[in-house]
């Protein structure tokens, strides 16, 4: 069985040998990067600088929460607001793989700039097994290029260190628990963020829509979990579809977008069941999304696909 304590001790030891000087960590505030930061911090202390990039594709209040986590953990940190750059880079981009590659490269270029300012030559990433497995290479087909693996440009000037490479999320959660980190229960939120929850071009206008829709799905499900109406899914969010349909709002015709509700149960994201959300909860989600987003969204659908054949995120 996976032994969290032993893994922590051995990894800290290895990191001390491996890192000579300063290192950056790509810090999204999720379980993987937070656990990784804690491990590297134990190994090299203040020589580690946590870098959080606000891509503009973050969830509601995300970057604020991340800032808080970095303070609480006592990490040396940098906070980079790059939303304008990311929006510009993704203009007119529709293809999901293209989006992921552009985002991956943008992240690296930003880290390279920070590394130069900080005189760091290592980049630590919270990459876990499904990231490199799905990114493909060699005999393995590319399912999707995870921004931190398949999305990396070839000419990187930093040495990449990935202490969690062979682990799955449930094992990383065990580490979080052992390290007494409060992020333990957070649901996964992939690096490309809301950009891959908008099918087609991820415009600023659509980001606003999907951010609100994701917030509503999370909020309603969190409440339902607290009320004992359902158990907490592995991951739960909204996807904005480019499909428009006819609706009627207060005796007037509307022609808005469609939001898909997606929730899955899993332990490692390698296989997933779609979550059987009670209809009463789905109804609250649907009503709140359409009332809040008014003429922008007038239809909500529920994704009932397992993985395989689907993947968790739509892109």
């Amino acid at each position: 069985m996976f032994n969290a304590k032993r893994f922590i001790d051995e990894t800290i030891e290895k990191l001390r040998d491996e890192i000579d000087g300063k290192a950056l960590i790509a810090f999204s505030g999720g379980v993987d990067s937070t656990v990784c930061a804690a491990l590297v911090n134990k190994a090299i202390g203040d020589d580690l600088i946590a870098v959080h990039v606000d891509t503009g594709y973050m969830r509601k209040n995300e970057s604020e929460n991340v800032r808080k986590t970095m303070y609480e953990m006592g990490l040396n940190h940098r906070f980079i607001d790059a939303h304008k750059e990311f929006y510009a880079a993704l203009r007119y981009v529709h293809d999901p793989e293209m989006k992921r590659r552009i985002i991956g490269e943008k992240f690296i270029r930003i880290f390279e700039e920070v590394a130069e300012e900080e005189d760091a030559s290592y980049l630590v990433q919270g990459t876990i097994a499904p990231d490199w497995i799905e990114s493909g290479g060699g005999l393995r087909d590319t399912i999707k290029s995870h921004h931190n693996v398949g999305g990396l440009p070839k000419d990187i000037r930093l040495r990449i260190i990935e202490p969690l490479r062979d682990l799955y999320k449930d094992e990383v959660r065990k580490l979080a628990k052992e390290l007494k980190l409060s992020v333990n229960e957070r649901q996964p939120f992939p690096g490309p963020g809301l950009a891959i929850r908008i099918i087609g071009e991820a415009t600023e206008e659509k980001v606003e829509i999907i951010r609100e829709a994701c917030f509503i799905v999370e909020d309603e499900i969190d409440k339902a979990v607290v009320n004992g109406e359902m158990s907490k899914p592995w991951q739960y969010f909204a996807v904005l579809l480019p499909v428009q349909s006819v609706g009627v709002h207060g005796d007037r015709r509307v022609y808005g977008y469609t939001v898909a509700v997606r929730a899955v149960d899993s332990i490692d994201a390698m296989t997933c069941n779609y979550t059987h959300i009670p209809h009463s909860v789905l109804e609250r989600i649907s009503t709140r999304i359409t009332n809040t987003l008014k003429d922008k969204v007038n239809r909500v659908v529920y994704d009932v696909t397992n993985k395989p054949p689907g993947t968790v995120e739509w892109e």
């Binding site: 497995i133 005999l139 296989t271 069941n273």
Partner: protein, 199 residues
């Protein structure tokens, strides 16, 4: 007894990587069951495997159609020379069938995700403790349509006749479904049975 002595009594099973999405998951399941497990490329010479010492092999699944034609790295050499147990999964299973004279074709109805498995040979050591009906998860475009002469059928599903097979005299097993994923109900039991045979 020192650390070295401890390692030497652990069962060593190698996972031959044919490029599957769940190759690493197979490694993890074995490791979780306290097996000394490692992933090796399917181009590893048999000689090297023997030098390192091994008690059993798992032939992983692989990218679409890899079991249909052509070679699967050095899997042919492993099947020809090995005296230890081998478990083929998905493309590994299809290749095993083809190597022994069976036939693999694109599935009329491919299976992705949840499927009900029906065990037809409950006495097989691989299915010890697995009920006659259980849930397994699948992900395949092709399947074994003609069982090789030296093999017998162990399990089937509504859409796929050859879900599991076993060589009549040698410890060779093939599974179309994936025992390594979380959602396969008795996956761990099947792995434990395989490990038992490797001891």
């Amino acid at each position: 007894m020192g650390v070295e002595g401890y390692i030497s009594v652990m069962t060593r099973i190698l996972v031959v990587d044919n490029g599957g999405q769940w190759t690493h998951r197979e490694w993890r399941t074995l490791r979780d069951l306290n097996v000394d497990a490692a992933i090796i490329p399917n181009t590893t010479p048999y000689q090297r495997i023997m030098e390192e010492g091994v008690d059993g092999l798992v032939l992983s699944g692989g990218a679409p159609r890899i079991g249909l034609d052509g070679d699967l790295g050095n899997c042919n050499e492993y099947l020809e020379k090995a005296s230890f147990p081998i478990l083929g999964i998905c493309a590994g299973h299809q290749y095993m069938a083809r190597y022994y004279g069976g036939l693999v074709k694109p599935s009329k109805t491919p299976e992705y995700g949840k499927v009900e498995l029906l065990v037809v040979e409950p006495d097989s050591p691989l299915f010890k403790g697995v009920p006659s009906r259980s849930i397994v998860w699948e992900s395949h475009n092709d399947e074994v349509v003609v069982l090789p002469d030296d093999f017998m059928l162990l399990a089937e599903s509504v859409n796929c006749k050859v879900q599991a097979m076993q060589h009549k005299t040698r410890p060779l097993y093939g599974l179309q479904f994936h025992p390594e994923v979380e959602h396969t109900e008795y996956g761990e039991v099947i792995f434990k049975n395989f490990i038992e045979m490797c001891r």
